[in-house]
Amino acid sequence: MAARVAVVVFPGTNCEHDVVTAMERVGAEASLVWHGDRDLGPADAVVLPGGFAHGDYLRPGALARFSPVMEAVARFAAEGGPVVGICNGFQVLTEAGLLPGALVKNRGLRFVCAPARVRVDSDRSVLTAGLPLGTTLSVPVNHFSGSYVCDPATLARLRDGGQVVLRYLENPNGSVDDIAGVANAAGNVVGLMPHPERAVDALLGSADGQLLLRALVQQAAGVRAA
């Protein structure tokens, strides 16, 4: 049976349909979960997609983290379930304290939508498991507040623990240590600014995102089997 992915929709989220399409492309079943729900339904993995939850008002993710569904997401994560936040979803996860650090305005203070090259620097996460270290992927970025910051102690911990899963080859936003994606210590919660769901079809310029999403689907299937 295909892995079941719950795609969380906040008011203002806008990449939910794209994530559903991309997850289906890599063989998963995906369904939308409204932010007001307290239950994720039958899910082997959760994706928080990109967009502008609550208009990004106040700070990206600041209001969304209070949504009822986030308690269920936190529980799912605590039980070891795979949770991936893409772009705005990454911002929500940091605001919710499920990932360390914060995402601030891009260096340059402008929105950036462009292809980005990223490198897999750790396979200790549900999104990169099984990928050879050093694999380079072309995956677009699309954000205004994508510059990852954290204090030096946290950064040291992230590095030592293999929690920096993706780095930019050409840093588009000023992220510390070129960080494009981080995982929690257990590796089951991952946030990344690039949009793998936008890179699942050569017709659109790149299919590299499939590698990440396939890894997630495999991990999700494994979790269920266990």
Partner: protein, 765 residues
């Protein structure tokens, strides 16, 4: 004369004759509220009173047209059960005052026009026009406008897939911000903005109503008509509105869900003239009347007077007509999307009158309360004045036509001219989400955008949609009629570069002051140029917008018609070749190399003449519609072979437009990262002429290309090869006109905008 001394109707912008017309319609003097309604609805912006007469000359019929001009957006049948809605509009004046919010609310407005039709907005384009960037104020405008479009479009979740960027001194005091939106819907969901069914409810959806965008009507405050505390303080009546993309996003989802559930009878966005326009237009289109309870309208500020409520242009609002039985379901669905929904009125039976039944728009204070205004609904929309304003050819026209820069000598440094003409607009479009919905096969930076015809709720289709916007104030300033025809020809050529055939046109006519006879002459010429070219190319105009009074310090902008053209691709399975050169390919020109007559390579109106030599005169080359049609059909066919997944003959393709063959070659070399060597170019004239109906292409099979071209009756010349790391252009004798490292050209191209824009600009300029 101060406002106090001026008669009220004039202060509101109505002429004495217009007041007499309103009085005749009512059979009595309008009261202040009624006067406000007529003033906003009969404004140039809402009534098109100066341009309507001319716009009638545009062809609007076509086999694919489902909805032509007059509705909120044009709609065409794209096949496979999908219809496409398209509309273009200007937001020039607000953007000049507050570039960020002005441009942002422009995006919001055009989206509402499209989802009003039942279409999900899928793409935005933004043709922009500014003064030269040397001035700090222009940099501030560019920064603000682009940031505003970026902030609103990205957040609301509609990709911006292209646009245009033009710098010319004529826009220094009056920038132009046009926005095009394209959406798609299952054909069956098409709805029109009309009310029907007396007893049905008028429901206001979305944002609260504030004192923003009341503009000219605000003189009523000092006319002693306002309610308690009504806007005696100027600060309370900002003319600038702040956009809320988050509200708009919820409004889009709620409205599309309402339409999907079949819960609305009609729906209409609130734009210019706010509730006055939405209520009177829906009633007039449906041949009914409407009772509106102003006191029911949720207001953002206390003590708003009825005229303020009725004319406010607060953003992110829609008016839906629903049956009383469906109202609870409507309310529930809106609550889920956190969209405010309030019953503010009722559809009423037309009242028998002298000339047949008349639907009346009545404004009431409370349900069944005092009648504050009572006018025939259609009189606000349909009885607006219509002016045939005086037109006059500019006095210097003959002299200007005769003063042609083609003859100018010496030529100057072609390489330097070429470098200076290269501009990479990615500084702009990197700030726009251009990929959302996973449809964008070709985004900004190419000749036209190419999208998969797909979206949530649409039936599956293999087709592709192509869209481009084009304009050329350089050409139109010299000859508005011929220039406009050339602009449409270029747009169609842009579509061919991605393999698409054109199906429909929208246009935004940006002009100066219509009270200047030269401006009215320009407008009339442009309409004729567009009408003629549309007829010649077999294209219907399905919508448009007119923006007048674009002037500053008494100087009008150059006539700036912007066309948006929608094209279709039957089978979109692979990416088109694109403009990038491929090493080892033969570079060829499709189309005639020279114009007939004594000016084989005319330079009038070219970027070379205008931007590099400041020469704004001469005679434009003529468009040969038949030859153009053959050429674009050939190119579209060649490209569509690749797009359908076949091997294809073309390795790269780019139409020749601004900057001529020189710029086309350079852009192709830069995009491909490979140099080229080309010979036989007849000096700077052939290098920079913008003679229409030509493409530069590259192919690995030149013989087959020549054969295809000859079979289609299209001229073809082999120019050279793509190779190396320099761009070399030689004349027939082998003398180099241009010989520069590709790296140098790439740097001038890439740095043109960032070099001038990457510092905080100064508002005060």
């Amino acid at each position: 004369m101060t406002v106090a001394e001026e008669p009220l109707h004039r202060a509101l912008g109505l002429t004495d004759d217009e007041l007499a017309m309103a009085t005749a319609v009512l059979g009595r003097e309008p009261n202040h509220l009624e006067l406000a309604l007529y003033a906003v609805m009969w404004s140039e912006h809402c009534s098109y009173k100066s341009s309507r007469l001319h716009l009638r000359r545009l062809p609007t019929e076509g086999s694919r047209v489902l909805v032509g001009p007059g509705e909120n957006a044009g709609v065409v049948d794209a096949g496979d059960g999908v219809a496409v809605a398209i509309r273009i509009e200007s937001h020039n004046h607000p953007s000049a005052i507050e570039p960020h919010q002005g441009a942002a609310t422009g995006v919001g407005g055009i989206l509402r026009d499209v989802f009003t039709m039942g279409a999900r907005p899928l793409a935005v384009m933004d043709p922009l026009f500014f003064g030269p960037l040397d001035a700090a104020r222009q940099r501030w405008l560019v920064e603000g406008v682009v940031a505003g479009i970026s902030a609103y479009g990205n957040s609301v979740g509609v990709p911006t897939v292209g646009g245009e960027l033009t710098f010319d001194p004529c826009y220094a005091g009056n920038p132009l911000v046009n926005v095009l939106c394209l959406g798609a819907l299952p054909v069956g969901r098409l709805v029109l903005g009309r009310a029907s069914g007396p007893g049905n409810l008028a429901v206001l959806l979305g944002s609260t109503t504030g004192r923003d965008g009341i503009g000219g009507v605000s003189v009523l405050a000092s006319a002693g008509f306002g309610g308690e505390g009504a806007g005696t303080d100027d600060a309370k009546r900002p003319s600038v509105q702040v956009g809320d993309p988050f509200e708009e996003k919820r409004l889009i989802e709620a409205c599309l869900a309402l339409l999907d559930a079949g819960l609305v009878v009609g729906i209409q966005d609130l734009g210019g003239a706010g509730l006055a326009c939405a209520t009177s237009e829906t009633a007039a289109r449906g041949g009914v009347g409407m009772d509106v309870d102003v006191s029911a309208v949720p207001c953002r500020e206390p003590h708003m007077a009825p005229w303020e409520v009725m004319t406010s242009e607060s953003q992110e609002r829609m008016l839906a007509i629903v049956t009383p039985g469906d109202w609870p379901a409507v309310a529930e669905l809106c609550a889920r999307w956190e969209v405010r929904a309030t019953v503010i009125g009722t559809v009423t039976e037309p009242v028998p009158g002298d000339g047949g039944a008349v639907g009346r728009l009545r404004i009431l204070d409370g349900p069944g309360g005092q009648v504050l205004a009572d006018v025939p609904a259609a009189s606000l929309a349909d009885d607006a004045p219509l002016y045939d304003r005086p037109r006059a050819e500019p006095a210097d026209r003959t002299a200007r036509l005769a003063d042609d820069p083609t003859a100018d000598e010496p030529a100057g440094d072609c390489a330097a001219d070429l470098g200076a003409l290269l501009v990479d607009p990615s500084w702009v479009y990197r700030q726009y989400d251009h990929q959302l919905f996973l449809n964008t096969v070709v985004g900004p930076g190419a000749d036209a955008a190419l999208l998969r015809l797909a979206g949530p709720g649409l039936p599956p289709s293999e087709r592709g949609l192509a869209v481009t916007t084009d304009s050329s104030p350089r050409w139109c300033a010299i000859d508005p009629r011929a220039g406009t025809a050339l602009v449409l020809a270029e747009a169609v050529a842009n579509l061919a570069c991605v393999g698409a055939s054109p199906v429909a046109v929208v246009n935004c006519l940006n002009f100066g002051n219509p009270e200047h006879p030269e401006v009215m002459w320009q407008l009339s010429e442009v309409v004729d140029g567009l009408a003629g070219a549309c007829r010649d190319l077999g294209l219907p105009v399905v919508g448009g917008n007119v923006s007048l009074y674009n002037e500053s310090a008494g100087a009008d902008i150059d006539p700036t018609p912007v066309v948006g053209v929608l094209g279709l691709v039957d089978a979109l399975r692979a990416r088109p070749p694109g403009m990038g050169l491929v090493a080892g390919a033969t570079v060829a020109l499709l189309g005639e190399r020279a114009a007939p007559g004594d000016q084989p390579h005319p330079l009038a109106g070219t970027r070379w003449a205008v931007e590099r030599r400041d020469r704004r005169s001469g005679r434009l080359p003529a468009l040969d519609p038949a030859a153009h049609g053959r050429l674009v059909a050939l190119v579209a066919a060649l490209v569509s072979e690749t797009v359908a997944g076949g091997p294809g003959l073309l390795a790269s393709v780019h139409d020749v437009s601004g900057g001529g063959i020189g710029v086309a070659l350079a852009e192709m070399a830069i995009a491909g990262g490979i140099g080229a060597r080309v010979r036989g170019i007849a000096g700077h004239r052939e290098l920079f002429t913008e003679l229409p109906s030509r493409f530069v292409v590259a192919t690995h099979d030149p013989e087959a290309l020549v054969a295809r071209a000859e079979a289609s009756g299209v001229a073809v010349s082999l120019l050279g090869m793509a190779a190396g790391d320099r761009l070399v252009v030689e004349d027939a004798e082998g003398t180099a006109l241009v010989d520069v490292p590709l790296a140098e050209l790439t740097a001038s191209w890439r740095d043109a905008l960032p070099g001038r824009l990457d510092d905080v600009a100064d508002a005060a300029g």
